[in-house]
Symmetry: D2
Amino acid sequence: MITVGVLGAHGRMGSEACAAVEGAEDLELVASVDIGDDREALRAADVVVDFTHPSAVADNLRWCVDAGRHVVVGTSGVGHELLDEVRGRLQPGQGVLVVPNFGIGAVLMMRFAAQAARFFDSVEVVELHHPRKADAPSGTATRTAQMIAAARAEAGLGPGPDATTHDPDGARGATVDGIPVHAVRMAGLVAHQEVLLGTEGETFTIRHDSLHRSSFMPGVLLACRKVAEHPGLTVGLDAFLDLD
Amino acid sequence: MITVGVLGAHGRMGSEACAAVEGAEDLELVASVDIGDDREALRAADVVVDFTHPSAVADNLRWCVDAGRHVVVGTSGVGHELLDEVRGRLQPGQGVLVVPNFGIGAVLMMRFAAQAARFFDSVEVVELHHPRKADAPSGTATRTAQMIAAARAEAGLGPGPDATTHDPDGARGATVDGIPVHAVRMAGLVAHQEVLLGTEGETFTIRHDSLHRSSFMPGVLLACRKVAEHPGLTVGLDAFLDLD
Amino acid sequence: MITVGVLGAHGRMGSEACAAVEGAEDLELVASVDIGDDREALRAADVVVDFTHPSAVADNLRWCVDAGRHVVVGTSGVGHELLDEVRGRLQPGQGVLVVPNFGIGAVLMMRFAAQAARFFDSVEVVELHHPRKADAPSGTATRTAQMIAAARAEAGLGPGPDATTHDPDGARGATVDGIPVHAVRMAGLVAHQEVLLGTEGETFTIRHDSLHRSSFMPGVLLACRKVAEHPGLTVGLDAFLDLD
Amino acid sequence: MITVGVLGAHGRMGSEACAAVEGAEDLELVASVDIGDDREALRAADVVVDFTHPSAVADNLRWCVDAGRHVVVGTSGVGHELLDEVRGRLQPGQGVLVVPNFGIGAVLMMRFAAQAARFFDSVEVVELHHPRKADAPSGTATRTAQMIAAARAEAGLGPGPDATTHDPDGARGATVDGIPVHAVRMAGLVAHQEVLLGTEGETFTIRHDSLHRSSFMPGVLLACRKVAEHPGLTVGLDAFLDLD
C-alpha cells in the first residue's frame, strides 16, 4: 500500500485526485492539505501530490523535498531554475516528477506523432475545442507541433510539400516550427486533437478526444504508483509509461 | 434508350463520359465530337454533353440549343449573360442543365450542410487536398461556406460562439462569409471535405472523400437521363436529385 | 409569448425541459405538474409537454386534448390505437406532436442518410455507445438502417456489393433489412453514430456525436414553438424542420 | 551508394520495387531477375530483394544467403523451419530481413495500438475494405487484435467493459482474442483500419488509410538501406524503424 498526501486538496484537480486515490485499492489517502492547513500531516505520506498554484508551488516543492517525500507536481509554473535547485536538494532514492499534462492520451498522442512524423512527407495538426477558449492554437497542439518539428529536423526532413500560392486570408491557427496547426472552436466540443500524416498512397491519423477532467486521474494514479521507482527529477509522464 | 453525343470527347472528362455512356444499359453513345470534327453528328443525339473549354462553350451551347438538342454543360465559364441568352433561345420542352460540379457527393454535402446549419450554434469547414493544389481554400469549400452562411442568415442566426482573443498567426484557409474554412494540404490525399456543426451537447459531421474522377460519372449519367424531363434552363445537379 | 406547461416536471427530461423553457425568451413556463399534482394548472398553457411514463401517457394525452391544449409528447409507449383515438378527438386547429427522438442531430442524420442512400452502391452503419448499454445494435441505428433500406428499395436498389465468403465469427451488431450495422461499446463514449456510404471513387459519411441530454432541449423548444402551426396529429420532429 | 538486385522483377510488387530503387538517389539497381533468368547477376548487389512466390522463396533465399548477399524477403510463405535453417547458414555480418508487411503506416498502427492498449479500459478495431475482399476480418486487423490482446494480457488487463445482453444477430467481423473487430465492406474504399481505445472521459483513435501499392515502397527502400546494419535474421520492419 502506497500512502498519498494531496496538497491543494480543495481545488478542482486536488479534490478529484483525493477521490481517485481513495478509490484505488493499492493507494491510501493519508493527508489532504490546503491553504491554511499544517503541512506536517504530509510527513505520513510516501508520495505528495501538489495541485496548488503557480505562486505556491516553489515553496511547497522545497518543503516536500526537504521532508524526504516523493513528489508529483501537477501545478504549472515550475521553471528551469526551480528544477535545477530541486535536483540539487534531492536525497538518494528520492523521486520528483513534474507533469505538464496528466492526460495519458495526450502524452501518447504527442509521442506517437513525433515517432511517426519521421516516416511521412506531410504532417498537419487540427485541434478542436469548446468556443470559450481564448487562445489559438492550444498549448497542447503547439507542443505537439514542436515535438513533430524536432523529430523531423533530427531525421533530416524539410517542410512537407505544399504548392499553395493563393491563400490570402488565413483561418484560426498558426504554423508552428513549420507545422500547420488548424484551430476549430465549436459548441458541443470539449478538447480534441488530430494529427494527420501523409505520404503518396497512404495517410495516418492519431486522434485524442478528451471529454472531462476525470480523464487525467489515471495519469495521477500512475504517477503516484511509480514515482518512487524513478529516483531523481523527471519531467513529463512519458518516462513512466514504459513505452520503449 | 436515350441517345447521347459528347462534345470534347477526347479530353479527360469527355473520354471518361464516353466510356460511362457506353457502359450504361439505358444510354447509347451516337456521336463523339472534338475540335475539328463536324458537329452535325450531334443531331442524332437526344442529349449532348459538353466537356470542351471555357473559350468554346458559348458557341457550342448556342449551336446545340438551335439544333433542338437537350444539353448538359460540364464546361466552366458559362456566365450570367450566356445563361440569359440561352433561356431566350430555348424551344418548348427543351432542357439545358449547367453543372458546376457533377460529384453527387459534393452536391449532397453542400445541401445537407446548408440544411443542418440552421440547427446548430457553430459551423466550420475543413477541406483537405493533395499538396499540388495552388488555391486555399478550395472552390467547393468556399461555395459550401457561402451556402451555409446564406442559410444561417435566412434563419436569423449570427456568427457561432468564439471567445478567441489570442490568435496571432493564422493557418492555411479563410473565413468565408463568417464561416471558418481550414485548408489541409497533404501527400496521400486527393479531395476531401468535412463540415463540422455543433451545439452544446452534440456535434454533427458531414464528410465527403473523393478519390478519383470516376466519381463524377454517376452524376453525368443522371444528368443525361433526366435533362429531358426538366424543360428550361437549370443550374446545378440538385434539382435533378429529387431530394424534397 | 407562448405559454408552456410540463407534465412529469420532476423527472430527468421534464426538469431539464422546465429549465430550457424558462431560459427561452419567447416561451413562458406557466405550469409544472408531476404525479399527485392537479392537472388543471395546465389549462393556462398554450402547449403542454408530456415527459411522464408509458403507463401514464394515454390518460394524460386524452386529458390534454379534451382540454384543448396543443400537446408535445416526449414519452414513449404511444401505440397506433392511441394515435387513431387522438386523431378523432382533435378539435380544428389543435396540434399534437409525438416525438420518438428530440435530438435534431439524430433526426437530420436519419433523413440525410435515407436521402443519400439512393445515390451510393454501399451503405453501412457504425454505432458507438458507452459500455453500460444492454442492447446491440441501438434503436436509433436500427431505425436508421430501416429508413435507408426503405429508401433503397423505393429507388430499386439491391444490396451493396460484398464478396465476403469467409466470415466465420461475427462481431457485435446485426444486418438490419440488408444494411450491416456494427456496434462498438467503449468506455469514454456516450452516444455516437456514423453512416458510411460509398461508390467507386468516393465515400460519404454522416456522423452524429451526442454527449449529453441537454442536446435534446433545442428539439423540445422547437416543438413547443411550432406545434400550434401544425394542426392535426404529427409523428416525428422531421415535419417541423422545414427541410424541403 | 548501395547496390540492389530484385528477384521477381516482373511481378507487380517487384516491378514497382525496381522503379522505386531506380528513383532513389542513394540506391542503384544492378540486377532485375525473374523466372528463367540467371541469378548470377545478383552477385553484384549488396542487397537482394525477393518478391517471387511462396513456392520459390525457399530456394531463392538459400541461394542468396550462400552467395553472401544481404536479403530482404517480401514474399510470403517463409515458415519457422526455413527461418531456422537460414539463421544457421548466415555468415557473420550478413543480414536477412523477412517482412510480412512493408506498409510503414500499418506497422506503426499495430505498434502504437499495442502500446496504447495498456492504458485504456476498452479497445475495438474497425477495418474497412473494398467490397471485393473475400475474408473478414482482414489479416492486418486480426494481427493487430492479437498484438493488442497480448499487450493487455502482459499488463494484467482483462476484457473491456461490455454490458451487452441482447445482440442476437452479429455483423461482419469477429472477436479476436477478446478484442472485437468490425469489418466494413464498401465501394469506394481501398484498405483502411481504425483502432479505437477508451477510458472514462477520453477516447484515443489510430487510423491508417492505404490507397495504393505505392505506399509500400518507402518500406522497401528503408529495408534496402538498413538491412546491412542489422546482421542476423530479423522478422518485421519494426526493428528497423528506430522507434525506441
